[in-house]
Symmetry: D2
Subunit: 367 residues, 4 copies
């Protein structure tokens, strides 16, 4: 299978790692495992084929073409970056003018959990309330109206873009109507709507959505298709949907450290993800496993903090019990609920197996 010429393999064996394999199951996040095997397979098959650098390889070109088709947006301009924070920093700083900031929900990833990456690029994150992660169209409109009504607005940061995530950081979803409203408000103010799709697949394949990939493309000015959390080793595909990719975007990416020399690594992964519908198939699998996980959690009698329509679920655990559970399954601390309880996140993913779910149920229903 490994068709690499023997002569340049220095030795046959990989040193035995001294620490042991982790055998504990994990519902900690959707990025705990490696890549979908189809990706690894393609990486191996193409491994020794020479390709030019920086995204000019044929795999990247192929991936872009397939993404255009999947978005039903034949003229989309696509750029592949390595990670989510990098992508948000690049897109936002490249599109905003110096005096503009980006409007986000208070709980938006760019606002709360990117270590100030947007501010590092010189721009303020302007916040509106978050409702289980979602921005309310009426509140956005009021914010924008209020800004321009303020006589001092020339001394303030101009709202230059709106950022939402689909699904949100809480796993919640906008309906098509809600996206239309948000997009309409942005259009009225002449500012782009940017959709962070770190977990896009999990949203588009939810049983509770009426939104399609084409809707995302049509109702945004720029969005990204998250690979890292949907079965890639790394990688996010930025899609400019209105011929609005900023000039010399590649140079701006380079300047921000967001241009991989071996662009093939990203190209091959997205080529595979957008072949035979794998990207959405990964989401469908995760949502099926999520349904089963919700059933497990309910059978175990755990109260829900938020039962989301996508792969992340939030339950409330007594602190003592959490400590016990964590010895056998990795979960994610979300926030303190009260002195004695914690909100915990469990995520299903493209790689969640039946066995994982069975073990989870055993752990939760023990004694």
């Amino acid at each position: 299978m490994l068709e690499f010429p023997e002569k340049i393999i220095p030795q046959g064996t990989i040193e035995k790692v001294t620490d042991e394999e982790n055998t504990m199951i994990s519902f900690e996040s959707d990025y705990t495992t490696g890549a979908h095997p189809a990706i690894l397979k393609k990486l191996m098959e193409t491994n020794l084929e020479p390709a030019p650098g920086y995204g000019s390889d044929r795999f990247t070109q192929q991936a872009i073409e397939k993404i255009r088709r999947a978005c039903e947006c034949p003229d989309a301009q696509v750029y592949l970056a390595a990670g989510g924070t990098q992508t948000n920093q690049l897109v936002i700083s490249a599109m905003l003018r110096s005096y503009e900031g980006v409007v986000a929900a208070e709980t938006g990833h760019v606002s709360a959990h990117e270590a100030g990456a947007i501010e590092y690029s010189g721009h303020k994150v302007l916040t509106v309330p978050g409702h289980m992660g979602k921005m309310d169209a009426g509140e956005l409109k009021a914010f924008l109206e209020g800004f321009y009504a303020d006589g001092n607005h020339e001394h303030m940061v101009f709202p230059g873009m709106v950022y939402i995530s689909f699904p949100t950081e809480y796993g919640s979803l906008y309906s098509r109507k809600e996206l239309e409203e948000l997009h309409g408000i942005c259009a009225d103010y002449g500012i782009p709507l940017y959709i962070d799709g770190a977990r896009l697949s999990y949203g588009l394949t939810s049983s509770q959505t009426d939104v399609t990939m084409a809707d995302i493309a049509g109702l945004s000015d720029v969005f990204y298709i998250g690979g890292t959390k949907v079965g890639a080793l790394c990688g996010e595909a930025i899609v400019f949907t209105k011929g609005n990719m900023p000039e010399h975007f590649l140079t701006m990416a380079k300047q921000r450290g967001a241009l991989l020399a071996k662009g093939r690594l990203l190209g091959i992964q997205f080529d595979v993800l957008f072949t035979d519908d794998l990207y959405l198939e990964n989401g469908r699998h995760a949502n099926r496993q999520k349904d089963k996980m919700v059933a497990v959690l309910k059978r175990a009698g755990l109260p829900f903090y938020y039962e989301s329509p996508t792969n992340q679920q939030f339950v409330i655990l007594e602190n003592e019990r959490l400590k016990e559970i964590e010895k056998e399954v990795a979960v994610s601390f979300w926030e303190a609920y009260d002195e004695h309880h914690t909100v915990v996140r469990l995520a299903a993913s493209w790689s969640t197996t039946e066995e994982d779910l069975e073990i989870l149920e055993q752990i939760l229903t023990k004694k």
Copy 2:
């Protein structure tokens, strides 16, 4: 071989890519192919093992331990980043104070070919002459002396770090004595010496070097071990050698978009590269192939612009001939030599095969 559970593979076949495989050989650079097969093998073997994110996985910890041993620097602090420009931007901006710049040769990568990534982070690149890519210790000393002698230096950018590359962008090498001199000057001025080791392996395994990995660690304050150009899919290992990693470096990396969620991707690769001496073995292979490549180039009668001691070689070609040759082998434009001639770079790498060299000779000696 692919041990991924059947049930979550959505389909058995990868869509046939419509464009054809590239069968033309390439000496364009040392990052045209994928990864050393031992890396792909390990990626597959560990693929479904859950691991926590952001570099806290066991693979990364293992890699760090092995790097410490290879550097003979048991207390080294190591951080794995994805690419070279990202690494340079991160290290330099994290270590400099606001009023400081980094001193580099005019031809240094940070000065010339990173799209202003250092300036984007707010810092000036202060330049001294480059001599086939190398900085002269005397000229560095004169620069630093001159700075402090200038009565106006409080109105100027303070030299806060010295950047060199090993090998340089031209493939040239500093001797141990030269590194000692540079490091001594930096110590005298209380500023760190940073060594960009994008191609470190190719330098350390050159037949013309007296420098070891331990020397690099001992004679620098921070350096990085390049993975991308030495057989990784991506990845550079930043090594702080004097207990001098800036506090909260991970947060600064996150802030600059330089923290991968799946740190395992980097951890696994460096774990493999530092197992059984693979990192240096890759360099030895490349230098062996380089020797053969030089012989081919000489037999073909091509005049050398610079015959370097490492994997990159620079020859002068008539523009007409270059056009012909490029139809059959990818090489890299370096710079115009004169109106009718071009300096061309050819690079051997960890993946250069005997067959590549044979085809190259056929192409160059045709007719």
Copy 3:
């Protein structure tokens, strides 16, 4: 009086300005008029004395010495800058590390009204609620505790400084006890407390304060003494109270465009303001005039939105009446109160005259 040698005055007359002098009174702000006449007098007296540039002149040195005495902080390190936003940007960006942000009330000037100057320097403004402009010590403590309790805080902006204003943007004041609490919390977390004293004099001379200039110095790590709003043409004096001025602060100021060539302009003004207690005397005058202004507003029956202890007052006006009033006196729009009413700010200042107050009363009580 003008002792400038005749021979280099090119002509005797200033061209008559064609537009007319503004004769309408103004309570719009405390920076509508020029400088205290003692400042202009000194500027004239010293006009032709040569002085070295960039703050190394004797006036600046003199001013610094006098400020140290006024603060009862003999080792204070003082830097004179030109304006408030510039000062905030300089102090905050020079003191924070890359991964840190500044904590401010939502209504803090740095948060709301500086066009993103802090973010432009790469740092986030982290907000806590404002209570008529004031930060609550308990809420600050909870914010800091919450930050470090969050397991993800390495992915978030670290709180690296606390910013408050005295008086606040609403004219409210912290008591000495409140300052002690805030300063104590900052000390517990090892982060500096920075007090924006754009209107410091108006706070220190309020009849409702128990805080002195020495308290401000003692209970902060850095603060600034506002000149622009207290009778200078421009200028703010930054005071580092704990030997904590960042190294090469002058170079950082230069780098941010905050170093005037003719430092004498700032030195002379602060020399005068800190001679014979003029700085506080200006505040006392303003507060006396404020008391009279409040009486006028009350006699006119205007409801107060907030009756502050300092020179700024906030009343609610019907929109129709506001339009009428604005024809005769300049006031400042603060915010919409409801559909039919507006919150209006009136400010007394060092230059408010009895005549101004009489005219104001006439205008407000007309008909």
Copy 4:
């Protein structure tokens, strides 16, 4: 003369400063003294007239109108800033796109002596050789051609603006023909030509120039009229000549700390400088005094390093003699000439008197 109401002057006397008046003459620079007396006179006359803030006062509007007339550019867009480095940082960062840098001579102020202010704003200063401060049109053209000829230019900083100074930092001047050439090259490449006129008056009134204020406006895209070095307390007038002021420039100025609350300070000064030709008259005076100063230096037998056509002159002094001379007259260290000699700058200015020159001659010809 001081018409300020007695009642708010806290005391009649200014405290006697304890340190003594500096009575030593100075040729150190053209910013050692205060302001032209006509400016101080106008500041006093208008002192208590209320004016709105941030440049919306009538003085600023008047100044702008007069500057437009002086430039013969009726549609010029003018913004008044406080200092030179601030102005350069603001103009350059506001006009460049993220991926662009500014091209300057190596000795250009933005390149060498602004503490990295341009880099702090995220942009590289790209350098071409300086010839006594001047940029050569042929070398600029070659630089730009070379950039676009480089196959890797997408990985490099794009030249987005050309910066020159008139006069240069060495006092040298471009002829009208040279400006036409530079402007033509910029036009060919679609990038603006920016002229730093910190000492504009001294250039336009040189006996050796054929360039007028209208030429500067016509042959640049943006320039600034230096006030600080030509008789203002502070202030530089930025002039956009082609309707090309970036949108929301005031907000960008605020964001960079470059917006004074009391815009009147700048407005009044430029109103006066552009009344009755005072701005150029100041230059004429300085150049007349410069001629006399050159004669003094020649009679004293001092060898010239560079005899410039404007107010700055550069002579070579033995180090021992320099030490003696500096006890009686302030001059400016420029650079070391050799081990035993120093290049010294002497500057005449708008305020240089006959007496200054007489004393200088006495000092230089002593014994």
